[in-house]
């Protein structure tokens, strides 16, 4: 539209007509050429049906990977290359192994002053008779702190995937459980009545004696978890719900991990700032010795036992 000239006069100017032609409003061939009148386009049902069938067949062919020659050739090449890659990897590793220091020699680079101090001064510096426990819970405690949280975060991901929160999921899980799991089996119940108490006692012993002999929080926690799973299998969810619910697990794991973090941060803080730690090391060989190691073993044992039981319950039913 033009501001200088009224609309009707503007429509008769050359520039307006040119602009319309440029934009395609005016058909340049109309009124100038002789053309045959076109037939109106009407939908032929037959043609539409053929078009649709064509499209469906094309899609079916697209997703039919078994008969698609290109995909098969590509899959074959991929398989050949992968197998070659794996063989190359193993050969390279074998060549490297043949160049490693000889196996079992006392003069290897691995047996240097680091392990010497652990063996010779471990008892005095950590108070633990079991040198490996002293190493993972006192010398290199940061690694174990990270590793307990690996267990915790794996449990959280399993909860994200498998925990049944809606009513429908819970009912589905319970129906599944009812139809597939054994109920009130006499042999299982009798065996459980005899075995579960010793299993628990053994697990607690392994945890508490972790710094006195082979054992520790991880192994003891796994044993207690196994005992809980046996109890659940023999007596069913009705009995275990009385003492082990979702809230129990949450509070247990939070309490244990928080205790571990606080205890270890005290130890790290005092160590880095060269402050003497007030935790007494006690008498080596007694149960109440080795500073924080006993407490850490108990915390780790609680976390591992809860985690084992949670994994089993989540895989079986999706709820406690």
């Amino acid at each position: 539209m033009s501001r200088k000239v009224p609309q009707e006069k503007y429509e008769n100017t050359f520039s307006y007509k040119f602009k319309r032609w440029l934009e395609g409003y005016k058909d340049p061939f109309l009124d100038t050429l002789e053309m045959k009148s076109q037939k109106a386009f009407h939908e032929d049902e037959e043609i539409t049906r053929l078009h649709d069938e064509d499209k469906e067949q094309h899609l079916r062919q697209l997703y039919d990977i078994e008969h698609n020659a290109e995909v098969r050739i590509f899959a074959g090449i991929y398989k050949v290359f992968s197998v070659l890659f794996c063989i190359f990897l193993v050969m390279m590793l074998l060549i490297a192994v043949s160049a490693l220091p000889p196996f079992g020699e006392a003069g290897n680079p691995v047996n240097n002053e680091v392990s010497e101090r652990y063996i010779e001064n471990g008892l005095q510096e950590t108070g633990a008779v079991n040198i490996v426990t002293g190493m993972i819970l006192d010398y290199r405690a940061f690694d174990t702190l990270g590793e307990s949280h690996v267990l915790f975060i794996a449990t959280c991901t399993v909860l994200i995937l498998l925990r049944a929160d809606t009513k429908r999921d819970r009912e589905y899980g319970e129906a599944n459980d009812r139809s597939h799991e054994p109920k009130n089996d006499v042999i299982l119940q009798t065996a459980a009545r005899i075995l579960v108490p010793p299993i628990f006692i053994f697990g607690i012993y392994v945890i508490l004696a972790g710094h006195l002999g082979p054992g520790g929080g991880f192994s003891g926690g796994a044993v207690i978890g196994a005992g809980l799973i046996l109890y659940l299998n023999a007596f069913g969810f009705a009995k275990t719900e009385k003492f082990f619910t979702a809230k129990t697990y949450r509070r247990m794991s939070f309490g244990a991990l928080a205790c571990y973090s606080i205890a270890k941060s005290y130890s790290f803080y005092t160590g880095a700032n060269h402050i003497e730690s007030i935790i007494p090391l006690g008498n080596p060989g007694a149960i109440l010795s080795s500073g924080l190691i006993l407490l850490l073993n108990i915390c780790v044992g609680i976390v591992v036992a809860g985690t084992m039981y949670t994994f089993y319950v989540m895989f079986r039913k999706g709820g406690y």
Partner: protein, 125 residues
């Protein structure tokens, strides 16, 4: 490549071959459960390799019973501690992979990851 050395280091060679077997299973198998088995074999072989590092001929496990603290009496305790950490990591990732498999199977009723991709692409279209 010195074959004598390789035969002397035969435990480590076995560990490395197991690693290769587990690695190729994880990479090449179609079934998800078999992939997870391959993952476990691979991780266990790595821990075997690491645990072998600490062994010294003729010495005992590093528990200072009876107050013997001579470095000549015990094997190297460091690799055992590292393997303890590693086993926990392996258990955690196996549990995670298994729960992923359960969810995928419940929805698509197949354990083949490629078939699941095809089904997803069909759903999307």
């Amino acid at each position: 490549m010195n074959v004598n050395h390789l035969l002397h280091n035969y435990p480590e060679a076995v560990a490395v071959i197991l690693f290769g077997i587990g690695f190729s299973n994880l990479l090449l198998q179609k079934n998800l459960i078999k992939k997870i088995v391959g993952l476990n074999i691979m991780d266990t072989a790595t821990y075997l390799f690491l645990a072998l590092k600490g062994y010294i001929d003729g010495r005992k496990a590093p528990v200072a019973a009876d107050g013997i603290q001579n470095v000549e009496a015990y094997i190297n305790p460091i690799p055992s501690g590292l393997v303890l950490t590693g086993i926990v990591v392996s258990v955690s990732v196996t549990a995670l992979m298994l729960s992923l498999t359960i969810r995928l199977y419940r929805r698509y009723h197949t354990l083949d990851l490629d078939k699941i991709s095809i089904l997803l692409r069909k759903e999307g279209k």
